[in-house]
Amino acid sequence: MKTWRAAIAALATASLFGTAAAAEKPSELRVGVTTFLSGPASVFGEPARVGAEMMVREINERGGIGGVPVRLIFVDEGAGGEHVVSEFRRLVEQENVDVMFASISSGNCNAVAPLAEDLGVLNFMWDCGTQRIFEEDDYRYVFRTQAHATPEMLATLLYLLKAKPDFQTIAVVNQDYAWGRDSWDIFSTALRALKPDVRVVAELFPRFGAPDYSTEVTRLAALRPDVILSTSWGGDLDTFIRQAAQRGLLQQSTFVLPLAESSLERLGRSLPPGHIIGARGDHYFLHPEFRDDPDFQGFMEAFRAETGAYPIYPVFHMSQAIAALEAAYLRAIEANGGAWPERSQVVDAMAGLTFQGLGRPVTIREDNQGLEAQLIGMTIHVDEFPFAVLDDMVIYDPRDITTPVGMNSIEWLRSLTPDFVDSVRIDRFSHAQ
């Protein structure tokens, strides 16, 4: 990992002879991170926090960024939107943080993005999926160091159309909150454009955090759809899959689970082979391009030693935000003739920045949106792991599947035609490879 970051920093194409005034080098680089430490979403938030601490420890061990050590200050998103907003502000105004990473929840992203803009603080939306933010407003200080919901859903659909081209019926079981609704809007819009003959037989939106899905499972068992889509995550997805598995539903329909990479290890063998799994990016502890890389492997093992589980996609998202932080500062320092940059110089350095975390490199577009590759695969059972892993993996090039700059996602998806499916650039990998 060290080596890539250095390489990326060297790639940064800025003038070595910048003349801007040098700011005094601070004693530390403070980064505020909002993440779920309580509530159901802490299943994402906790691993990301642990991952962030490990990565920052590693940065600081080699002297920090540009010689300045990084300090992380965490904010619990689980304490509610009010708390996040007031903490965001406290961190900026009182703790003088240099950069904010906010947030996981799309609702919180919606709230803090304009706040960051008004406060003039660099903010990385490090994990929230809502596609709306940059489609509805222009920002100078807010960047997204990952993809948004549209490429994530579109990649999943493209994979499904290739893997199971003849399916006729589909049912959806999503959590009843913004993500569940939004992701289905995107998926179904794209589905109507790319394969209009498919019939949607049920749209179920059980309550967020529902303890029991047996009614939904019964209904799906009676309907027998070819494909069942669920963008649920965490405990909800686990419950749904286990109850469906116990009652034979997974033998009956093909499941498409764009967020299930984060549940693979917990689900164990109850997730049978032959179902489609996404990872919100190319985030997978056995990433086919990097799994033999000693740094990558080292981090995966170290993380597992620390937490007892393999890293899941929020950890990868966090690695991208941290990589972006380092790359932006290094680029700004370079542009400033080696001196510590002003904040505005760091913001300027974000333009077109490319950085690499634990996945493929991500590039920031002119609308501040990151272009992040998407990895989708099919479950198989292998001897080395007591849980399902991915086979028949496809990595999608983000340039083809991300909503073009200045367009609205839904309108763009509507404009697609069935031949789009074959126009997308992909790379294929298998588990055995």
């Binding site: 430490l37 509530g39 159901p40 309550r207 047996s214 019964t218 917990r266």
Partner: protein, 301 residues
């Protein structure tokens, strides 16, 4: 809706109602005797569930006889109810029996907040899931649809046993009759020399054990995440209010209403699924403020 689908919806509704009933009946008993609406009841559900999952996972990991998980579930419920229930009743509730109802409610609210963090400190935030008991019992087929025997048979059976057992306990045993006596007329009962303190402790432990049992039995089918207690407590409130405070049999019927209402909503009008329990509660309370089976108390002047 075809009769076949109606049958399926009914079966789902019953399984769900069984779990809700076990939690709600504990809440209603505690209220009947102690006149305290225990907000921390949901925490007993959650902690019962977590403890059960830990025991089941522990037993499975240790490679013990898999059928031991069933006594394990029971052990978790009784352990949580007895230990935590006694601690809270003795250390806290005994101090507040003479206080205003608002303050009593707030004390249980405070306990709820504290226990939320206790769960997080003990079990972390990762979803827990201990499905071994469900696998052991296998599946049952009804009109071509697979059901788990656990949900279709075991849960309703246990709920029924709890209902019948409670009836017998309250009518036939001395302790049970004391509980009934205190529920019906506290002043009279204490005037007759019933040791209210002991009855309170017994009721609280029993009620808490039922909540923990609900949690323990939910753990094999539900993934346990932070916040499950908060959701369960409002649902039990709804059941208790619909039934009428202190009504044991009524709670069973109210739980069924909510369970069936919910499962039918999934077929007929999925949009309403979440609102069903609260809509039923609003409607029932507006028509019969004392609940379906509650009795009106009139002041003598």
């Amino acid at each position: 809706m075809t009769p076949q689908l109606a049958l399926l919806a009914t079966l789902d509704g019953i399984a769900y109602a069984a779990l809700v009933f076990m939690v709600a009946v504990g809440l209603t008993m505690i209220f009947g005797v102690m006149r305290i609406l225990n907000v921390a009841h949901g925490s007993f559900y959650a902690i019962g569930a977590y403890s059960a999952a830990s025991i089941v996972l522990g037993l499975t990991a240790a490679g013990m006889n898999p059928w031991l998980v069933f006594p394990g579930l029971l052990l978790a419920a009784v352990g949580v109810g007895a230990v935590l229930g006694t601690l809270i009743e003795r250390l806290l509730l005994t101090r507040i029996y003479t206080k205003e109802p608002v303050l009593q409610l707030l004390v249980t609210f405070a306990v709820f907040m504290i226990l939320e963090d206790v769960q997080r400190l003990v079990w972390g935030v990762r979803p827990y899931f201990a499905a071994e008991p469900v696998y052991l019992l296998g599946n049952v087929q009804v009109v071509g649809i697979f059901y788990t025997a656990y949900q279709l048979i075991l849960l309703p059976t246990v709920a029924l046993l709890v209902l019948v057992g409670l009836r017998l306990f309250l009518r036939r045993t001395l302790s049970g009759r004391l509980i009934v006596a205190v529920t019906e007329d506290r002043e009279m009962a204490t005037a007759l020399g019933i040791n209210a303190g002991r009855v309170f402790l017994l009721t609280f432990v029993l009620g808490s054990t039922l909540a923990a049992l609900g949690g323990a039995l939910a753990s094999p089918t539900t993934s346990l995440v932070p916040g499950i207690g908060a959701d369960m407590i409002v649902l039990s409130f709804a059941v208790v209010a619909i039934a009428g405070l202190g009504q044991v049999e009524g709670a069973a019927i109210a739980a069924l209403m909510i369970g069936l209402g919910r499962s039918f909503a999934v077929y007929v009008m999925p949009e309403l699924e979440v609102v069903v329990p609260y809509l039923v509660m609003v409607i029932v309370l507006l028509i019969r403020p004392e609940g379906l089976f509650g009795v009106v108390e009139r002041r003598r002047i």
